[in-house]
Amino acid sequence: MLQGFILGIASGTACLAYCAPVLVPVLLGEGKNIQRNYVILGQYLGGRLCGYLLFALLAWAVRFPLSGLQDRELVFGVVYVVLALFLVYYGLFNHRALCAGQIIEQRPIKRFSNRLPPMPLVFGFLSGVTLCPPFLLAFTEAADKVAVWQSLLVFFTFFLGTSLYFLPIPLVGAFNRFDALQKVGKLAAVVVAVYYLYAGLIKIAGGVIVS
């Protein structure tokens, strides 16, 4: 149990670096105060925990399912593309206080939006299942475990260790009185999406070529 936590503490900055390009635009885009930002962070981390536990189950059940390079590239390429599409949706279409005219105009999007879980949860989940180097370490550690609960525990404690580094990020809510930051956050989500879309497509192409 301690191993997973220490692994999380040791590699937390890398996790933060991987998650910040998604989390920071979302926190800015929501334009909430510090307290509400912690709720959003909770949703994001909840989604990330779901992703981790899903992989814990996979690690235990399938044993090294990521060993095939081509499969790995394809799977994570697709995850990146899906993440990019959600970021574009968040940046361009996910406006909360729509006026009546806009609601009529954007009805299909609105219907789509109503069926979705909170966006930070979705982003947390998709970030949780992307392949960062610390995550691979935890995966290898978990794959060695005999019982499913041990595998889950490794990922859970790893998650706790890495999450400590996320705690200062909601402090960006101190600047929520600047309305412009909300627009910057939404636009940044779209720009980040372009990066993930490119990274995803390259991974998919790489996976296809290798296989």
Binding site: V24, L28, A180, V184, G185, L187, V191, V192
Partner: protein, 393 residues
Amino acid sequence: MSVFSPRPEMPAPSTARGIVRAVLLTLPMLLLIAMMMTQGELPKDSLTRAVTAITYALLGAVFFLMVYKKETYKYRAALFTIVAVCFSIAFIANLVEMRGSMAVSRADMLAGETPFCHLVIPMVIIPAAFTRTIIFPGSLLEGFANIASMLILWLGASLALGRGWCSWVCFFGGFDEGFSRLRKKALIKKIAPVWTYLPWAVLLTLALISALTLSPFYCEWLCPFKAVTEFEQITSFKILLQTIIFASLFILLVVILPLLTRRRTQCGLFCPFAAFQSLANKINIFDLRIDTEKCKNCRLCVKDCPTFSLDENSVGRGKTLMSCTKCGKCVDICPQRAVTYHIKGTPVAVGSDTARILFLYPAFIFMSAIGGSMIVSALTRIFKLIATGSMIG
């Protein structure tokens, strides 16, 4: 009085007095430029001596005209464009002379021979704070355009000019400035205000992704000016793609959109360094003010600001936005002469030329320090080309 009524003139002195005043104000600048360009001794070969004299005369004439005509924008824009073109000529010729091509190889990068430019500065801050490493394949102290000298220059200019850097010092800005002035009328007149936040979004994204990848992501993928400076040797599909992106961004943001909008679209709608540099306006003592009593709300300044730094709200408040580059266009075109350069903490003196002159000195010194050597270098290369058929050697 209608907004179309004749522009109230400044209380201009008589022509003779005006010339004497302009000469007196230009003399200190001429002395400073001479010191900067010669560094105490005249160049030894006759070609460089002649070229230095031409550049000196050009810089002196531009400053004199700015003071004498009491106009800033058109003279600055012309010189700014010349500097950008000369920078490109001198830089490319220098690279070809040193490396044999515009392309930088992996070996050059590993040897730390990539010239450092100011556009990278916002991307290196977060990784430097966490890793104590500057994520750029350049030299800290050696070679031309090393990291330390560029950082010192940037710090000095940021303190003196704030975001004035983007209209007076940046050796890339003259490209879109030049293209934005080629057409008489804009074909695209309305640009949604939300796009003015894009440079901030690009800055945020690049700062975060550069921290993630520990590489200067903007240089690798998004810098339009790679098209007119240097690019990585094409050895893979990835580098080919990067090169296509550089060229496309240059054509779109620096050529086509400025032509269509008559605005500096790269600087106003995309450049992450520009957004970062806007913060320097907060610590700089110069700004521009609008006399709301004189202003007839004709919105000419809002429509014509090259970097989208004025909107109705800011005009109502009598100030420009944080992104103002102090290019002087609004001051020059205002039919009511309601816009003026201003020193923070002093009363707004519309009609007075003092604050403008006080701003012009540091701004022009930086422009001459950067641009002067580039013009000399480019003219030398051009004369060599005419005389020998080659810029190199």
